[in-house]
Symmetry: C2
Amino acid sequence: MSERDQSNGLEHLFTDTVRETMDSSVYGAWRSIRDADAVPLSFGFPYPDSFPNGELLSAAESLLDSESECALQYGGGEYADALPEVIVEQARSRGISCTTAEVHLTNGATNAIDTVCQTVLEPDDTVIVEAPTFMGALRLFRNYGANIEGYEVDDHGLDVDALADDLAAREAAGDALPKLLYTIPNFHNPTGVTLTEERRERLLELAETYDFLILEDDPYGQLRFDGTEPPPVRALDQTGRAIRANTFSKTIAPGIRTGWIIAEEPFIKQFDRINAGGEPSFTRGLIARYAEDGQLDRAINELSTGYRKRRDRMLESLAEQMPPGTTWSEPNGGFFIWVTFPEGIDAEAMLTDAIDQGVAYLPGSFFYTDDGGTRHARLSFSHVTPVKIDEGIAALADTVRAETPAIEADD
Amino acid sequence: MSERDQSNGLEHLFTDTVRETMDSSVYGAWRSIRDADAVPLSFGFPYPDSFPNGELLSAAESLLDSESECALQYGGGEYADALPEVIVEQARSRGISCTTAEVHLTNGATNAIDTVCQTVLEPDDTVIVEAPTFMGALRLFRNYGANIEGYEVDDHGLDVDALADDLAAREAAGDALPKLLYTIPNFHNPTGVTLTEERRERLLELAETYDFLILEDDPYGQLRFDGTEPPPVRALDQTGRAIRANTFSKTIAPGIRTGWIIAEEPFIKQFDRINAGGEPSFTRGLIARYAEDGQLDRAINELSTGYRKRRDRMLESLAEQMPPGTTWSEPNGGFFIWVTFPEGIDAEAMLTDAIDQGVAYLPGSFFYTDDGGTRHARLSFSHVTPVKIDEGIAALADTVRAETPAIEADD
């Protein structure tokens, strides 16, 4: 660390929460994984061919032509104004009935989660998460000084029974009850599993009984390959406790970084009021122009095909190549497969060897707040071609095989 | 108010700060002014001809062509990566020597101010502001539960003597000292005045003596029409206490909503860590591509000419048309002129009549936290053509003349 990175003697001016968390960061590790010379099964990046470069350029041309006086102005023009209506239509297609007054636009899903945090989280409030869960959300909850409590995920999503028992025990003991529960119900990051409808209903009941809010984060839900979609938590919600975050990052492109929240109007009113993300009206107009005439819906269909092909290839490749003792989830959509390695393997320790073999993944431990996830890894099938997926899984299989004698020798 | 706007009975789940501020909003008033059928001298909007529609479209075409695989990806490509370097160059041209490690990108200046707030403001911390000041900043400080204390502005900017006396008195009395001082040193919003170099130096001394930070917000500084620029506070800073916020909203366009913070690395490290605004990599690449080959610098020169013409016309028009007893500031750049009406006029109460006469402005009271600003109005010369400026000032002069007999009758 260079001298420039050191303290400037002004840290006492930071907030208590910033001071308590200022040294926490996994960015160093992330960067070395991102920059590794290996097949990237690590980050949940869309595959490059998926980007609608030409379509967005045409949309930009049309937008700047038809709204030459206001597309770049504060607030933008009619297209930017129309974006909430596009979102209401998208929500309707998922079974959610809402109006534009129940929509708050954000700069992506992370900004959506952050907005909810700023509105409801005090330091030391308890947030319930799936264990494992999206590390970006864990980072945000930590930024607000929250206590994060994880509950296990099985093939049907969050273990709601365990949660219910624990909430009852907390109440009986007079312990703190949660303020917020964060869930990724569809094609969960990192496990790929989907929360059943019955469990969604039970979560809503628990929220009502124990007086907490549910934050439903659904970036992958529209990229379904098999089966039918359970209703969104927000669609099942009768009490106004479900807040839904979403993004165009996976259905258009991450680089446009535009998302939204759907919630009851009293929440939206506060989200609008505290909003300090700026209004990128050019991008908003661009998306609305692009979505016109069903272009977004067609793109989602094509993307589902592209991701299904990659999911299929990764599942085949895992079945063909992995040594016995390794298991994995079989997602019906999204970007991720969750791998469980043979007992004794530490996926974080193994990563260096894996990168040397030619494959990068994210160690399962990155998705836990405690020491969980050691034997696991998240594989993203979203980013590379099917041929590269084969290469990556072959390299992973070689790495695991090379590791296994070492484990046996330790026994 | 419709029933849908009412409480959903879940407000107890908001943070204390949100609950305390949840009903505060001036959006209603803003909207009626924005939508008025009158010459808009109200909001600080760039004039529509200033938007580089064609240049940005060409930049988009070039960017999507040369970076077809990554312009829309997480993080973007080489152009998005190069944006901090563009900002370092811009800063250098203003006399600020910094590296890209001292730059944090934001989604506009509001997001920049908010990021600083989230890093340093606890509820009940004191923030010093110019009185009057940018109402958007006041809103953000309130969102963090800060106590806002205003100090008067004269023709040379913030009254630093009054501030120094008061800080000494506070310290002697054991009262709370500020955490942050917020200033708009160049072509101040709303008064148009510029803080002298001597006062900038004194502010930095006070920050060191009384242990606070200075947030220098400089959206207008590059749009100078006359005179020479005093060094930015950040350029004079020897102690690392000055944090500089800036934006491309006035030099490219508001719709691209991209800004930045320049500060010491320990601050930047925290801003990066807590950042939840998302990274609009497409827009960032677009700006870097647009700025290539001096295009941004040429645009700033042209914009200065366009705004100077408008400033000149508004000053001429005020001199020709306003009845005696009205005075105004004479800014050397930026977007705004601050008008002082004859005694007895309430600019907020007069606004309805002004709109009926055909001109909209922002009442001075909008820029104060207390009951100040009654006799004042902020006029923006930025938005409309010189011909429309004449029309607007004529309507304002008529309104004031119509108001004046009423005042005399009251005496």
